[in-house]
């Protein structure tokens, strides 16, 4: 019984309760860092770690936080965790942290964090909150990776910076789709994911 609940908390956000395409949280960064796979992967990983950690911390503190100042407490906890992650990235993956620029700092105001802290960590035990954080982080990361995969493959013919589309294609007249590098195509790709997702999960369709 108990393991069923754990499974649901961990795996639910991957599909039926996905933070990006169902709960509509954390769209800002999901769109902005997906020009290439590498920053998208790093971003997904950072958000997963931050959500899980912040969820556990808030969940441990949940009985001591007065209701009236909870938003500020949550923001400070998140800001502290984000600062640590950002300093680690600067130290060990400097070029990626430059590519992600302000979006690392913006994880603080990423709605996934505030949404999960408010909706889950404030009323659940630390272990459940950890699983919820991991589930939501991974649910967010896979959307990022799918979007980045198509944008990098079609936009520059590369994956992780390695040339995938062979030279002979270009000689035969194949051209990279420059539009894929533009912000607008990220939105349309997410729309396509939503389309497929809701076509499969008919109960999520809006009237």
């Amino acid at each position: 019984m108990k393991s069923d609940k754990f499974k649901e908390t961990l795996l639910g956000p991957l599909n039926k309760n996905n933070p990006v395409v169902v709960q509509v949280l954390g769209i800002c960064s999901a769109l902005a860092v997906t020009v290439q796979l590498k920053p998208a992967l790093v971003m997904g990983l950072s958000v997963t770690i931050i959500v899980a950690l912040a969820n556990v911390i808030i969940s441990l503190l949940r009985n001591t936080i007065p209701n009236s100042v909870r938003i500020i407490v949550q923001l400070v906890v998140v800001a502290a965790v984000v600062t640590v992650v950002s300093e680690i990235l600067k130290a060990f993956a400097y070029d990626v942290s430059v590519q992600l620029s302000v979006y690392i700092g913006l994880i603080i105001t990423n709605c996934i964090l505030m949404g999960r802290l408010e909706a889950f960590a404030m009323s659940n035990k630390p272990l459940d909150s950890l699983l919820d954080g991991l589930g939501n982080g991974i649910g967010y990361a896979w959307i990022l990776i799918v979007v980045a995969f198509f944008r990098e493959l079609l936009g520059s013919g590369k994956l992780f910076g390695f040339q995938i589309i062979p030279e002979s294609f270009y000689e035969a007249g194949y051209v990279n789709n420059g539009l894929m590098m533009m912000p607008s195509m990220a939105l349309i790709l997410v729309a396509c994911i939503i389309w497929v997702h809701r076509y499969i999960n008919k109960d999520l369709q809006e009237k």
């Binding site: 938003i71 302000v102 709605c111 349309i188 939503i194 997702h197 809006e206």
Partner: protein
């Protein structure tokens, strides 16, 4: 003065918060169902940006960046507190939003009623934090760079432009969505999906401004 004017126009059209950087997307998608509320949210965002950005600018140039504390005396001249910037910026934003909410409630109940629930939500709107972080990046640029923020006037112009650009985007989307109510959209795309496509097309239209030389 000219530089401030060009920053103002650029931040509305070229560096639009929504269409170029996707900042404030969550509330943008959630609150754009009708024009009236979206105007309210747009005004609130502009207002808060206009107040928090100058404060954060002072914080950045007088406290946080390397050597900024020199005015305190010799011993502080090579201190670099920039790792504190996330925590301080978000604290300033949260505190000012709270303060603005109280002041508005006291002195202008009508404005308070129209902004209503949006004010507290703005503390976690990424457009505000994003504005502060972009400001931090732009302060370090060469003064000749068209994006550089060199003095208070530039910062105010940038804040006002970013806010108005955000408002323009949300009011535009709300107007489109109001009309779209009557369209026959494929069932899986209804609601969220078609909104994304609409924003994508709007962003594509705004791409034309990127060639603008000001």
């Amino acid at each position: 003065m000219e530089h401030a004017l060009s920053l103002f126009v650029r931040s509305i059209f070229v560096d639009n918060m929504i269409f170029a950087f996707f900042l404030g997307m969550c509330s943008y998608l959630a609150v754009s169902k009708n024009v009236k509320t979206s105007v309210g949210l747009g005004i609130a965002v502009t207002f808060v940006l206009l107040i928090t950005l100058p404060v954060n600018y002072l914080l950045e140039t007088k406290v946080l960046s390397k050597g900024a504390l020199a005015w305190l005396g010799e011993g502080f001249a090579d201190l670099d507190l920039s790792y504190l910037s996330f925590i301080l910026f978000i604290a300033v934003i949260a505190a000012i939003v709270q303060l603005v909410e109280m002041v508005v409630e006291k002195f202008s109940p009508t404005l308070y009623a129209s902004l209503g629930i949006f004010l507290p939500l703005i503390a976690v709107n990424c457009a505000i934090m994003g504005g502060a972080l972009f400001m931090q990046q732009r302060v370090g640029l060469e003064p000749t760079d068209p994006k550089a923020l060199t003095n208070m006037l530039d910062v105010v112009a940038y804040a006002l432009g970013s806010g108005l650009g955000w408002m323009l985007a949300i009011v535009g989307l709300a107007a489109v969505r109001e009309k779209m109510e009557y369209n026959d959209v494929p069932a899986p795309l209804k609601g969220l999906g078609i909104t994304f496509i609409t924003v994508g097309l709007m962003a594509m239209a705004f791409l034309c401004f990127s060639g603008l030389e000001i």
